[in-house]
Amino acid sequence: MYFLEFLLKRIAQGFVIIFLTSLLIFTLLRVVPGDPVRLIVGGMAPDNVVEEVATKMGLRDPIIVQYGRYMWGLLHGDLGQSYLRPKSGMIATGGEYVDPSRADMASVGELILERVPLTLQLAGVSLVFACLIAFPIGIAGGLRPNGWPGVLAFATQSLFVSIPNFWLAIILILLLSVQLGWLPALGYRGFAYVILPAIVLAVEIAPFLIRTLTVSLGEIMQSHFIDEARVRGLPKRRIVYGHALRNAAVPLANLLGIQLSSLIGGVLVVEYIFDYPGLGHLTVNSVVGRDFPTIQGIAITTSAVFVFVNIIVDLISYSIDPRVEL
């Protein structure tokens, strides 16, 4: 019962947060300089067309009315339509006069949905890579914090966290793709295109994993139950994997929840450099093209994902270790 009550409360809170986020983003994009209608019709459109389109789209109504309309759509699962991308998918670079009569604009929801799988794939692969780097280094460092594995863990972590991701990305493209020709780098035409960006992201995520692993393993190894296990004569391997890792899992899960927002930041830059057609790429292009409905949709979607992933993380922590306070 306690559990269910918690769940409902968290979900309700989650919705409040998403509501506030959307309000925040919506207001922000409305008070910022620049007339979105000019973007829709293009730089060469005559002024009367601008006003006509603005009135037709309700963009001259008070912000609160517009927000109400937007939220009403959101409740029905409608994130609005892109200013820049027609259904066919091509984008304008601005400046031209675009007939308001032009072909239907793409729905923001669809734009996001069609890119989510690609971004999830990238995020998944990079998490796997990050774990492959972090687990050996982190576990060794946690078990022998004062020996060389500890130093190695600390050094890797300090170094990786200090390498700017975009810089690493272009160096890797130059080395692995251009000079050696081992991996494709730009665009997306198959799984091979995920590897390079995933490596860059993995380098960005790994230090946090290493750190959490070393710290929590180190703490746990010093705690009483490990000593007890030792006294009971359990082999070291079992102690580590059976007990310590299980206990380190809670902070690890929490970390992933919190790290999600940095991960999104990384994905954004990395997708942009590798021309990888995921959500981050869409975000950067929407920002430079000032496609407000799409930016809004992405921000709301990511905040929803963030909120609910964190609820799930709490649940996982609870199921791993029921002592965790909910």
């Binding site: 986020t21 983003i25 966290v161 927002s261 930041g265 905040s303």
Partner: protein, 306 residues
């Protein structure tokens, strides 16, 4: 780095009050670690270099020289010159100077932004934790909401549609990074509120603000400030990313992100233009991270009951 902030639990802060200045103890402990000393030395050297070298150099970071374009760093290739130890860029500007001036801006933005985040975040957090009730409710929900929008999306959205200048960059990064500080400060303030001395002061008739500013804040804030050092590195990377996306400081002012982004197309023929600012940034960040990590360890040790 987000987790470093989250790791400061509510009970750690303030539950154990050590006599004497906690700040001094933390600093002392950190100073005894090798990591801190290395980081500190490197950092001070970089700081001095960026402060002094551009002032005494015969060249200027923004002065172009079409005859000296694409000079390689010392001892590489045939055209290198003593005057340009790291070579020159596509417009014949000295790379060493550009990196050092870039470092100035990067550090300035990093430190100022973290200070802003710290002031706004801790201010709201203390208020929220100390006042409680609807103050708490409102501030914390706002914090949650803002925390749920990735900082970078917020930053590029605002900078993408308005003119990026140094003050706007600081403002935007600062205003999008405060929520974590608010959370941590609030937890500490809640714990502090229940303490004997606070109740004592209330009885004596001290107002909320007085207690908050004169007595509670000095106990709560320094430990958070030490961990904030790590955030300086994070903001410096952020500033570079913004520059890389074309949303950072505008030319001719050099900044790491802009230099690397511009040099991308010269990577194959003149790799040093993109490489040296990358190395500079990475070294500066490593030094800050070494110091930050040592400070954090020291703080944990002291609060952890050493």
């Amino acid at each position: 780095m987000v987790d470093t902030m989250a790791a400061i639990g509510p009970d750690e802060l303030g539950s154990k009050r050590v006599e004497g200045s906690i700040a001094r103890q933390i600093l002392g402990t950190a100073w005894r670690s090798t990591g801190f000393r290395i980081g500190f030395t490197v950092f001070v050297l970089l700081l001095l270099a960026s402060a002094i070298v551009p002032e005494i150099s015969p060249y200027e970071a923004t002065k172009m020289n079409m005859k000296a374009r694409f000079l390689p760093p010392l001892f590489l290739g045939e055209k290198w010159e003593w005057g340009h130890p790291l070579g020159t860029d596509q417009l014949g500007r000295d790379m060493l100077l550009r990196c050092l001036v870039g470092l100035r801006y990067s550090l300035f933005i990093g430190v100022t932004t973290v200070a802003l985040m710290f002031i706004v975040g801790c201010g709201l957090g203390l208020l929220s934790g100390f006042k409680g009730r609807w103050w708490d409710m409102a501030i914390m929900r706002l914090t949650d909401a803002q925390l749920s929008i990735p900082m970078i999306i917020l930053a590029i959205t605002i900078l993408g549609v308005s003119k990026p200048t140094v003050p706007t960059i600081i403002l935007v990064l600062g205003l999008s990074g405060w929520p974590l500080y608010a959370r941590v400060a609030r937890s500490a303030a809640v714990a502090e509120r229940g303490k004997e001395y606070v109740r004592g002061l209330r009885v004596v008739g001290a107002g909320d603000w007085r207690i908050l500013l004169l007595f509670a804040a000095p106990n709560i804030l320094p430990p958070i400030a030490f961990v904030a050092v790590l955030d300086i590195a994070r903001i410096m990377i952020f500033e570079a990313i913004l520059g890389f996306l074309g949303l950072g400081i505008q030319p001719p002012t050099p900044s790491f992100g802009t230099i690397i982004s511009d040099a991308r197309k010269y990577l194959i023929n003149a790799w040093w233009i993109a490489t040296s600012p990358g190395v500079f940034l990475a070294v500066a960040l490593t030094s800050i991270n070494l110091m930050g990590a040592a400070l954090e360890k020291a703080r944990n040790k002291i609060y952890g009951g050493a």
